[in-house]
Amino acid sequence: MSLTEIKKRYNIPLKQDELEYWGPVNHQLSDAFLSMGQDFLESYLKKVPRIKRKKIFTAFIELIQNIADYNEKNAKQNAAAFVKLSVEKNQIFIFTISELYNGDDIKVIEILDHIFKIKPAEIKEKYKAALMNNKSLGLIMLRAMADSDLSYEVKTDNLKTFINFNFRMNY
């Protein structure tokens, strides 16, 4: 059954201006998916200034590659993830869900809490420190982006733990 048929069957709104993917995310597939994402942004967001589109695509790259990196290192095989890129009114959303393995949730929450507690005024300094000291940089970079918001949530469901990121940017 195609994704379109599934959406019809479950009354999920069918929209032209969104890109969804549910399936394995590793480096190889993330490369292909990033190309699709770029095509999508160029096709459906022509009215958005190019620099803004670049920022959105940069956020998309970081979120997808984060999942692929994690899956390559931690998942056994074909680790699936959900990714959605959508446009609503004057906002663009990137929504991801991916699984955490090996009881990583506590460690991941600790790292993310630390990143998300950084006050806006301190972001630039933290970004600089991470860049110059070869520390994890992607999420700090996203938090530093203007006119945007990034949040996350960790949920456990049927003994599986999932993390979702929600990135929003105004245009």
């Binding site: 490369d31 790259i61 860049l131």
Partner: protein, 126 residues
């Protein structure tokens, strides 16, 4: 010493480093899934180059996209070239960024500030 040339691909930039003239060009998108792997031969080449550099070294960074992993590798690469400046050899970093792209501009400004080497900035169109 041999020149280094890497053709651009979907997520990686063109690399054109000429050892005899010291003109070193990085041009295009840099967001490979494995940034360490992409930069490995480039950093290796740079480490050899600084042992016997050209009279003047001009590193031109003309970057359209740059993911976080590649930012770190680029810092490592520029740090290798910094030894030229520290040893009073002529080094110019020309940082070209798309008009209005304050993210790429600020990466350049930050690296310039932290490594204490002079950058020249230029707005370009991709």
């Amino acid at each position: 010493m041999k020149n280094l040339h890497i053709e651009p691909y979907l997520q990686t930039a063109e690399i054109d480093f000429k050892a005899d003239t010291g003109k070193l060009l990085i041009s295009g998108k840099i967001y490979p899934s494995d940034a360490i792997e992409f930069f490995k031969p480039i950093v290796k080449w740079a480490k050899e180059y600084v042992k016997n550099p050209a009279e003047r070294t001009e590193l031109i960074c003309e970057i359209e996209y740059l993911n976080s992993a590649s930012q770190k590798q680029l810092v490592e690469l520029i740090t290798v070239f910094k030894s030229l400046y520290d040893n009073e050899r002529e080094l110019v970093v020309r940082w070209k960024y798309e008009e209005g792209d304050d993210d790429i501009l600020s990466v350049g400004e930050l690296v310039e500030h932290e490594l204490e080497i002079p950058f020249e900035y230029e707005e370009v169109t991709f």
